[in-house]
């Protein structure tokens, strides 16, 4: 529980005692509140990818289906096919950029794989 009773007030939050769950925080800081375009434009495709990963973490397809929630089927971003296409697109752009820079494409691939592992690792936590 993250609140405690005090003598003078109804409820006094005991901030800092129990750090809020990361999932609860991400759910709020990424998706809620005021959404404004700042001067620094974050690459939308990358943001979308991040959001997809988080959404997939936030609701398991199986649980959602069991509960009759099927929002991801109406969301083209989240239908697996679209997701794979976008992912492939990103990989290709990544490699192209690496080639244009004269860098080793293998390094970019490794980086992608490392990220994939990171996500997979987090997901099984």
């Amino acid at each position: 529980m993250t609140y405690a009773r005090s003598s003078q007030g109804p409820i006094v939050p005991t901030y800092g005692h129990q750090p809020a769950n990361l999932g609860d925080i991400l759910e709020r800081v990424l998706d809620k509140g005021i959404v404004i375009a700042g001067d620094i434009r974050v690459n939308l495709l990358d943001i979308e990818l991040l959001t997809i990963k988080l959404r997939l973490l936030i609701v398991s397809v199986e649980t959602a289906r069991e509960l009759g929630i099927d929002w991801w089927q109406q969301d083209p971003w989240l239908s697996g096919k679209q997701h794979r296409l976008e992912e492939e697109n990103r990989r290709l752009r990544h490699r192209l950029a690496a080639l244009e820079d004269g860098a080793r494409p293998a390094a970019a691939e490794e980086d992608d794989e490392r990220k994939e592992r990171l996500w997979a690792g987090r997901a099984s936590d």
């Binding site: 409820i11 999932g23 759910e27 709020r28 800081v29 509140g33 005021i34 974050v42 936030i58 069991e66």
Partner: protein, 258 residues
Amino acid sequence: MTDSGTYLYAIAQETGEALPDGLTGVAGTPVRTIAHAGLAGYVGTVPLAEFGEDALARNLEDLAWLEATARAHHQVVDVVARLAPTAPVRLVTVYAGDGQVRELLERRLAEFSATLDSVAGRQEWGVKVYVDPQTVARPAAGPGTAADRSGAAYLRRRRAGMRDRDDALRRATAHGDRVDAALSAVAVESRRHRAQDPRLSGRDEWMVLNGAYLVDAERGDEFATAVAALRGPEVGIELTGPWAPYSFTVLESEGVPP
């Protein structure tokens, strides 16, 4: 060309109350305020080497960076929300300088003021309801049927099994609806968020409600009591908060400014 930007955490009513000494936000940078026309933007100066467009595209895919940044952002929002009515701004909203933030406050003054008025003196509470599939499941078909190996008996058992499962789901979701209705009666406003994955919630049960409730500060006690009364052998309830009113200050972008 500068190498730093202005990171915006939240917009609040200006109360003149001082921030706690040494409050830092993302990337360990100090938090300060930009006051304009009764509003206060809570900002920090961040290096573009970390918060520029390319850097962000990279960093947002790094879960360790994302976690540290999300927690730091949330902490600032949390502190500000204790001082004044507050509308959190989405993670990694970065402006070229303070002037642009002042301009934003001016341009959307009426909208921001109305939103802040609607959350003044209120807090957000998070409520998750869990139901264990085992406890809502009805016992399987009675004794003796297992011995009956006819096709008709098989189909009967299978139909009964599906009916039991549908029943269990209906009962589980009904628990969520019942809790939501009871708590909405105490709250000023409520929102239902998507259920979280068990890997994120860390629990195996079905999450049948992931709700947010905007509650008058003086009714927080009553709200917690209501939550406690709704707990039962089939229903686990997790209460979090109070949160800054993240779920009740949702304003979409006005699009690209001229």
